[in-house]
Amino acid sequence: MNAAQENEWVKSTCYMCWNTCGIKVNKADGVIVKIEGDPDCPQNWGKTCAKGNAGYMSLYDPNRVLFPMRRTNPVKGFDVDPKWERISWEEALEILTARLKKIRAEDPRKLVISSFDTRGQSGVFWMAWAAAFGTPNQWGGGANYFCGNGFHPVTYLTHGTWFGEPDIRHCRYLMLFGTQNGSVSNHLPMDLAAKMADARMDGMKLIVVDPVGINAGSKAHEWVPIRPGTDAALALAMINVLLNEERLYDKEFLAKFTNGPYLIQEDGRYLRDRETGKPLMWDLAAGRARAFDDPAIGAAALEGRFPLDGKQIPTAFTLFKEHVRRHTPESVSSITTVPADTIRRLAREFGMAAQIGSTIVIDGKELPLRPAAASWYRGAIAHKHGMLTGLAIQFLNVIAGAIDVPGGHLGNNPVSRTAPLHWSPVPSADGLIIPQGYARRRKPPYPATKVKPPERFDLLDLCPVAPYGTTFFTEALLDPKRFRLSYFPEMLMVCRSNPLMTCANPDVMAEALKKIPFVVAFTCEMNETAEFADIVLPDAHYLERLDAISNEPTEFVGAGEGHWYWMVRQPVVPPRGEARGWVEVLYDLADRLGIRGDAYALLNATLDLKEPFAYKPTEKYSWEELANRWMKSWFGPEKGLDWFKKNGFFITGKKKVEEAYPRVFLAPRIPLYVEYFLDAGAEIRKVTEGLGIRWDTDDYQALVDWKPCPAYEYSVAGYDLFVVNFKLPFHSLSYTSHNALLAELSEKNPYAYSVLLNAQTAHKKGICSGDRIRLETEEGYAVEGQALLTECIHPEVVGTAGCFGRKSKSLALSYGKGVHFNTLLPHSIERIDALSAALDSCVRVKVTKL
C-alpha cells in the first residue's frame, strides 16, 4: 500500500498552473508515487487541486520528449511529419550557438523568446539572459492574449501592484465578472476556495456575472447571465445608479484617495498651477484653487463646478458622475440582457453592503470597513475595450471606497515593510500611484512609457499602457511592412508556451510562426508548436527542476492579512532521459556566447544581490549555486539552498496591517479620471501618423465607457450566437489536456468535451443533446462537436471549455477530443484592444446540426 510518510517526501512548488502551490512529493524507490499539498505552506495550506495531484503523470508520460531532435522535413504543418532525427546535446548546442552568435552580431533583436515561465529562478534568469543578449522581443501564448491584459494595468493604476483579489475574509457581498475565483480557477485557487467556502457559509453573498453558469455560477446566490463583452456596461450602469440615483458612494475616500477632486479644464486635462504645473483642487474653505498636495488645503471639493479664469471648471469626479449617466439601467438592460430591475437592485445591494462610513479595528488600527467588492478577469476583459472594462469594474470598488481596505478589493502586496525586500508605491508628479521596487517588476501602465516608432517587434513602443504586446507581435509577423519595422525575427526559442493552440485560429498562427526561419522548442510534450520547430530539446519537468524563489509576492502571496513567504521548487527526481532545465541550457549558451558576465551583472541589479553573494561576472556558477547565493543574499547565510530544500518555504513575517490594508496609510491617488490617457493617445497619433501607420487610439479617453466589441455589432443573418470559452478547474492552458488522470476527467465530465447550448435555444434549432453540430464563423472557421443542452448558459451563447481538439498525435489521450475554441477566432488589428493588447475572444457563429 502506498502508505503516507513511507520513504521520502520532498518539498517543492507545483507548476500545473501558474499559482505556485506548495507541495510535498512522495518518492518510493526513486519513483514518484504521490503529490500532496504542503500543510504548512501559507500558499495553499496543504491543499492541491486535481491538476496538482496529477502532476507526476505528465513526468512519466511515455510520449514525452526525452532527447534532442532535429527536423529533417522542411515542410511545416499540422499533421505533417517533421521526420525528427535524434541528435546529441552537444550537436544541438553547437547549432544554437552558431545561429545565436550570428544573430547577435547582426541584430540581437532578431531573437525572440516565447515563454510563460515568468516567475521564479527560471523566469527571472531567462529574462536577464534575453536582456544580456540584447533582445527585448518576447512573443507569448494565450496568457498574453486573453489573460490579465485588462487586469494588471488596472491593478497597477489602482493598487500599485501587478495583481489583486477581493478580501474574501471580510467581504459580505462579492460580485465576480467573468472569473471563477473560489472555484479553483484563476488566482490563488486553493486559498480562495477555502476562504470563499467559509465566507459563503458565513453569509457572504456571491453574485456571478457570466454567460456560463456551470462552475462558479453554480455556487452563487445569484447567477447573472450576461451577453458576452458587455460587462463594462453593467458596471457603469451600477455606478450610475450608485452615484446618481442612490447617492451611495464614499465621498471621503474619493476626495482623499482619487483624483476625483482634481479640476479639469475644457480640453479634458488637469487644470494646473501656472508655476508648479501641479494639478489643482478647489479648497472649499478658502474658496480658491490649490495644488493637490498643498499642505494648506482644507476640505477639497469632490463635486461641483468652480469659477476660474471666467469659466466654470468642474472636478474630475463631477465629469465622471455626469458621464456615467448615459449608462442607464434601461439602456444597459438591452445591451447586456440583464433586466433593469436587476441592475438597480445589484447596485443598491452593492452600495448598502459596502457600509460606507463604517470601520473595523485590526491589529489595533482603525480602518475603513467596506465589505463589498467586485472582481473580474478573463471573461470580462478578453475583449476589445478590455482595459476600459477592467477600469469600469474596478471603479465600482473605487466609488465604494473598497480599495485596499478590509472587505474590499485588495492589491497583491503593493507594500512590503518586511525583510528582505521593501517597497511601497510613491506618488507621481501628479500625485498618482506609481509602483516601486519589487512591485515594479512588470510593465506598469503609468507613467505611460515613451511612444516611439516601433523597435520592439511586439509594438509595445506604440502601447504605452499595455502590459505586453503579444497580439501585435503576431500581427507584425503576419504583415511586418504595415508597422515599418526595420528587421524581422530570425529565431524563436519557445518553452512553456503554445501559441499555435492558445491564441487565434491555428492556421493563422502557424502562418505567423512559419515566417520565423528557425524555431527551437524546449518542451516536455510534443505539442503543436513544438511540431513546427526545427530543433526540439527535452525540457525538465517541474518535478525535475530547481527554481529558487518560485513564488512572487506581487502575485502569489495572498493579499490582505497573512504572511510573507518565499518558496523553492526543487528536483524530486533526476530528469528523465536527456532532459535539462531550459534556462540552465540558456546559461550554458551564455557561456559560449560570452554573455554570462553581463547576465550576472543584470541579475545582481534586478535581484539587488549583496556581497559576498552577488554573482561575480568572471565566475561560472552552477544552477544550484546561483540559487544558493540568491537565497543567502536575501535571507542570510543560514538560509541558503540546503535550508530551503529541507523546509520548502520561508515565512519572513506576519503582514503588518499597513501591508495588508495599505490604502489609508498611503498618499498616492487612484486615477478615477484617467487623464494621462489623453496625452498618451495624442503621442501615439503623432508617431503613427508620422509613420503612416493606422492605429486606433479611440480608447485613450479619460472617462471610461462601454463600447461594443466586434461580435456585438456584427450580426449577419444566421450567425446569431456568441461562442465563448470557459475554464474547467482541472485543466490549465494547453499542457494539462493529455495528462492521463486529467484526460480521464475530461472524458467523464459532461461539460468538458461538449459544446454547450442553452436548452431553449437548442430546441428552437431542433438540436438535442448528443447531436453532432458544427459551429461556423463568418470567416469560414469551423469546429465540430457534440451538443450538450444545458440550462446553465445564456440563450445567445454557445460554450466550449478549455483547450481541447488537440492537433498533435503525441498528445495521445486528448488528440482530436473535444472542441478547439481558438480555431474560431480571427486575428486582426480591429479585434485587438489598443490599450491592453487583448484579443477579442467572442465571435458569432452559425450552429448547424450535422
Binding site: E747, K748, P750
Partner: protein
Amino acid sequence: MSRPANVFSENYSIDFKLQQVWSIPHALEFFLLGVGAGQYILSTWFWPLPWAQLISLLPVLGAGLSLLADLGRPERLWRALANLRQSWISRGALSVFFFLAFAFLALFSRWTSSPSQLPLALESAATLFALIAMLYPGLVLSSYASIPSWNSPMVPLLFFLSSWITGLAAEWLVLLALGAARELAPAMALGLVLFPITLLCLLIHLSSMARGGAALREGYRLLVRGLLSGWFVGGAVGMGLLLPLVLVAVALINPEWLEFSALLSSLFVLAGGFLLRYSILKAGVYPPLF
C-alpha cells in the same frame, strides 16, 4: 481505456444507470440452470425415459461453464460456497452442487441396478435441490435493494415459472428425440396451464413497475418501449410465451400438427426463456443517487 469498471464510472452525470456487470453469460447461466433443473424434474417424475435425465444435466453443466467464464478468477470458484449465511449465490452454488451430485449418484445407482429405494431417494434429493436451483437466481436478484426492479418477490417467481416452462420445452424436445412423441399431447397441455400463469405474473410485475418509483418506471420503459423492447416484448413475451401458447393450442386441436408444433414452440420457448432473463438483467436500473 478498457470497459468501465462499473456503470457509475462511465460518466459523472447523476442519472439512471443501467447495471452492466451481468449480461449474456449470467443470463445464459440462469437460463441453462432453469432448463436443466426443470427438465430433470419432468423427466424424473412424469416422463421417465432412458437418457432423459442425463440429457437434462448437460445444460446444468453448461450453466456452470458459463458462470466460470464470467468469473474474474474462475480458479476460485470453490470459494463461492463460503458465504452461505448471507449470500444467495453461495446457497445457490451449494444447491447446484448437491443437485448434480445427487442426480449423478441416482443415475449411477440406476445404472448399477441398486435396490429401487436408493435411486428414488437420491432422485428425491436431487429434485429438492433442483427446485432450489430453479429459485436461487431470482432470489439472488431480489436480494439486491440496489436495483428496485430486481428487488421484488415477483422476480424469483418469474424465474421459477420460466424454469418450468423452459424445462417443459426441453422435455418436448427430449420426447421427440427419444421417439416418445405419443407423450407430447399431455406434455404440451401442461404448457396451456403454465404459459398463462407466467404471462399473468409477468403482467403483474410490469404493472407494479409502471406504477412504481422513477427507477421502476424507467425499467418498465426500457422493457416495453425502449432499447430492450425488441428482446423483451418481441422475444421473451411474444416469441417465448404468446406464440408457443397459440402453437400449442392449435396443435392440441389439430393433432397432426403436434410434432411440428412441439419442435417449433420448444425452440421459441427456449429462446424466449433466455431473453426473459437477459432482459430482466439488462433492465436493472439504479435510481439516480440524488
